[in-house]
């Protein structure tokens, strides 16, 4: 009976402490100018992606619906962003493309974070040969050049949105795994973990009460730094023709602009927006990520390329 009571009040204390820590972190974040710029930019981008159906008709993406539009119209001739070689609205492609790019970036990051966190936590938590094997695999993935690996995977699996998410997810988890494992290892050494273990707590209890809550801020910071990598990867893979041929993404827009000859005829309204869009999304995440990093752990610096 007394144990239950201790646990309940203990939990309440923990929650309060966490809420306070969160509030403090937010106060700090609010004072970081770059962080706030990133956050506002990200909110705008997400709002645009969510509101895509209101901003541009999805059917405008299909060439067969654009036969009445002029081809290669400049933004002044066909506001707001002109048309491409088939007469399709560049604006519609930009809006819907950002949506797909964002989706791919977030979904791939989700895979990377889940796999990375699972590998990192179990490697750090359980130790022994199991941990050694996991870390060996992680190191291997860290060493192997990312782009060629993603290329061979995508080439064998075939081009589709799911596959590209899978490929980017599979290739981006090891950084998270390594960071999380290091954190778990150091947590394990901490006294209170020792104490709860002494009190007879199960592994599950340790994991859910102590390990997870303590690594989640780290995972969050890592997440904001994995998304930009994932988005840049999507852009490059799509540009190389490994994206889904039927779904517009910012990378695919660049690929189409390049192969349609936008560069030689200097149709800037076609090749500038997707590039700037990628830059904006990546910058927003990087700014937020760096601000979080400074708040949560100034020493957290991992290779990001």
């Amino acid at each position: 009976m007394s144990t239950a009571q201790v646990t309940v009040s203990g939990r309440r204390v923990t929650w309060q402490r966490r809420r306070r820590a969160l509030a403090a972190a937010w106060r700090q974040f609010r004072h970081s100018v770059p962080g706030m710029i990133g956050l506002v930019a990200l909110l705008l981008i997400v709002a645009m992606a969510l509101a895509a159906p209101l901003l541009a008709d999805e059917s405008d993406l299909r060439a067969i619906n654009a036969v009445d539009n002029p081809r290669w119209a400049t933004p002044s001739e066909f506001p707001p962003l002109g048309t491409d070689n088939f007469g399709r609205s560049v604006w519609a492609q930009f809006v819907w493309g950002s949506r797909i790019s964002l989706l791919v970036g977030l979904a791939a990051t989700a895979i990377a974070i889940v796999v990375g966190a699972a590998v990192g936590i179990s490697a750090g938590f359980f130790g022994g040969w199991f941990s050694a094997v996991l870390m060996r695999i992680t190191e291997w993935f860290l060493v192997i050049p990312f782009l060629p690996l993603a290329i061979v995977l995508a080439a064998v699996l075939g081009p589709s949105v799911q596959n590209i998410i899978l490929v980017i997810g599979i290739t981006s988890w090891p950084v998270t795994a390594r960071v999380v494992r290091a954190q778990v290892l150091s947590l394990k050494e901490r006294l209170y973990v020792e104490r709860s273990r002494a009190l007879g707590a199960s592994s599950r209890h340790l994991m859910s009460r102590h390990v997870l809550p303590n690594v989640s801020p780290l995972i969050l910071a890592n997440l904001t730094l994995t998304v930009p990598v994932a988005i840049l990867s999507e852009t490059t893979l799509s540009f190389l023709g490994l994206g889904d041929p039927t779904r517009a993404s910012l990378g695919k827009m660049l690929e189409e602009a390049y192969s349609a000859g936008a560069v030689t005829r200097n149709a800037w309204w076609y090749y500038l927006p997707p590039g700037l869009g990628v830059m904006a999304i990546v910058l927003a995440f990087v700014l937020i990520g760096q601000a979080l990093e400074e708040i949560l752990d100034p020493r957290l610096k991992e290779r990001r390329s």
């Binding site: 782009l147 290329i151 061979v152 064998v156 190389l240 990087v286």
Partner: protein, 322 residues
């Protein structure tokens, strides 16, 4: 540096490479839906060549048997034949390696020089406009796709102003030799090299900056200052040589990565290197060639990682004794 340490590092690198080889087999012969057909694709393959491949790679046997044959052929650097050209994959890769090594070498050199200079300036005047400017520059170049930067340079300097050739490595059809040929190639290399330089420069600047800041916090610099040395002397004589260590190891690591990162940039500029070859192989899709390219890119990265590890161990006394 102890022999044992070197040996361990080399063994580790070899193990990683072995993993790549196994992974390659798994991906191209097990995951792939029709591996045998894919090995045979290409209309230029003669009946004899098919027979030869069938035998070499043990294609009539079990997967295990195939794996053995595959290991044996890989050890002999026989990576099969390219569908597109019908040349052995190893020869195809070899003939395209030099343009990439040249491009990556030049741009690594340039990005290191300019990156280090920028990093020094930013660290020395921390919080100044210079520091701020270099951070903005780094962030901007980091966040743009490198090939998009390539497109921008291509449009402005290549297409609109016509200052540089828009693609290729030489003026095709010119029979220049010797110095004239070299210079023609340099002219063609300018835009892709500048693209890669700008894309990677920021990373060196950041590493140099933070490393220099760490160094400057250390005591002996305070001491040197106390001795009355001028700022610039302190910096160049003491701080920079000590701070440059991480940059050197980063060069080694990055060289391997830039090698594969040049894929999209080479594509934009039709630079006839391994990157462009990868793009063409993807268009095939030429799976034996892709498989070979992946092996080569990975081997390069593993090798340069090893070099960087050893270099670090050699240069940093703390690691040397460990």
């Amino acid at each position: 540096m102890s022999v044992k340490l070197v040996l361990l590092k080399v063994l580790g690198a070899l193990a990683t490479l072995a993993f790549v080889v196994v992974f390659n087999f798994f991906l191209f012969r097990v995951v792939d839906s029709d591996p045998v057909a894919n090995l045979f694709r290409g209309r230029n393959l003669t009946q004899e060549q098919r027979q030869e491949l069938r035998q070499q790679f043990g294609l009539d046997g079990s997967k295990l048997h195939q794996f053995g044959a595959y290991l044996e052929q890989t050890a002999k650097l026989n990576l099969g034949r390219s569908y597109i050209s019908n040349e052995p994959v190893s020869e195809e890769i070899w003939s395209r390696a030099w343009p990439t090594i040249a491009l990556v070498g030049v741009s690594t050199l340039l990005s290191t020089i300019f990156g280090v200079m920028m990093g020094i300036a930013a660290a020395w005047k921390r919080g100044s406009k210079t520091d701020y400017g270099s951070t903005v520059f780094t962030m901007a170049t980091y966040s743009m796709p490198d090939f998009w930067l390539g497109i921008l340079l291509l449009v402005t300097l290549g297409v609109s102003l016509g200052l540089f050739p828009v693609g290729g490595m030489t003026d095709p059809g010119s029979d220049a030799t010797g110095l004239a040929l070299l210079l023609d190639q340099a002219h063609h290399m300018f835009l892709p090299a500048v693209t890669l330089t700008v894309a990677y420069l920021g990373e060196y600047a950041i590493v140099m900056r933070s490393s220099l800041l760490d160094t400057m916090r250390e005591d002996y610099l305070t001491l040197a200052r106390a001795k009355g040395l001028r700022d610039i002397a302190v910096r160049n004589r003491h701080a920079v040589p000590n701070a440059i260590l991480p940059v050197i190891t980063l060069i080694a690591i990055n060289f391997g990565f830039v090698l594969s990162g040049a894929i999209a940039v080479e594509t934009i500029y039709s630079w006839p290197g391994l990157g462009r070859l990868t793009y063409d192989a993807l268009n095939g899709p030429d799976l034996p060639l892709l498989q070979g390219l992946f092996l080569v890119f990975s081997a390069a990265v593993i090798f340069f990682n090893l070099v960087s590890d050893l270099l670090y161990a050699y240069l940093d006394p703390r690691v040397r004794t460990a």
